[in-house]
Symmetry: C2
DNA sequence: GTGGAGTTGACAATCGTTATCGTTAGCGCT
DNA sequence: AGCGCTAACGATAACGATTGTCAACTCCAC
């Protein structure tokens, strides 16, 4: 236990929040740090449970408020479903590829999907908003391992540092 | 008031339901006929309200049950969101293009989007499930008219025959 | 350190959806 | 056409996720 990369990103969190135009508060730091590094989106309830388990006193109402402020500032993406799930996302334009097996999300720059844009426009006179369109499928990891897990339904602890 | 094409499709409805392996009941006929021909998905609440306005005594519970049976049989597609919305869809493999302006849904055969499949697979080692991935964007009609309506949020009466 | 605006926390209310259960109706069979 | 079994229905209550309210509390500029 020497030099310590313990909470080195404490300031990085502040930097992200400030850049997003949000004031820096304890709840926002807590939620952001819980979200950072996770591949799978988590629900508000999961955020609440995980924070409580970690000793936080944050209320469920505040969890929702914080997540909304993040979504409004564009630093998290909201995934629709029976319950909404949240995940930190990059500031630049990108598409979301959601694995149906393991639930993890892959972000790819919009440039990559220009072919789809072109095809849709030509075929259906439709200009796709790739950033808003979550694409479901199977990621390379799961295709290889052929696993069966349900994902997006089971708890998702143990995916972030 | 002559020959009458009044309820000519009464039997067509029955044919669809039977082909889907569902028994034919009054509530299922009513919901199906309300859904048929609509470009925009409707919520369970809207189905309920519209049917009630039309004199039906169908309960909200039954609306959900009927919609679920339709979804299970594959004759409607469920659109995720704050509230779920339902729309009749074709039996063959297809992608859904959802207009963010007017809310209408365009179906395109899967073949059309093979390019996207290929691009995603090569770039992210990801095999897209095009049938499950609703793509949001702006349809040709709205791009031309440049209208501002909210859609998917306002009531959607007056879109089906 | 102080003040004011923005944020938080607890509680209650709301909304969409599902479970329960007694009643009813579809439909194969006679 | 009538009978009976099973599936479907309707009303009500329950449920879970999300939002509204409002007093107490922080963040941060001064």
């Amino acid at each position: 236990m020497g030099g310590g990369q313990a909470h080195v990103d404490g300031d990085a969190t502040a930097r992200v929040l400030r850049a997003a135009g949000l004031t820096i508060t304890v709840p926002r730091r807590a939620v952001f740090q819980l979200l950072v590094g996770r591949e799978r989106p988590v629900s508000a309830g999961e955020v609440f449970d995980l924070l409580r388990a970690g000793g936080s006193r944050l209320g469920i109402t505040s969890v929702y408020r914080v997540l909304h402020s993040f979504a409004g500032a564009g630093i998290v993406h909201v995934f629709a479903g029976e319950e909404q799930r949240y995940r930190i996302c990059d500031p630049w334009p990108h598409a979301h590829l959601v694995c149906e097996r393991c639930g993890r999300v892959i972000e790819r720059p919009v440039d990559t999907v220009r072919q789809w844009l072109a095809a849709a426009r030509q075929d259906a006179d439709f200009v796709a908003n790739v950033e808003r369109s979550d694409v479901y499928g199977v990621c390379g990891r799961c295709r290889i391992s052929g696993q069966v897990s349900e994902a997006r339904r089971t708890s998702t602890v143990g995916d972030a540092p």
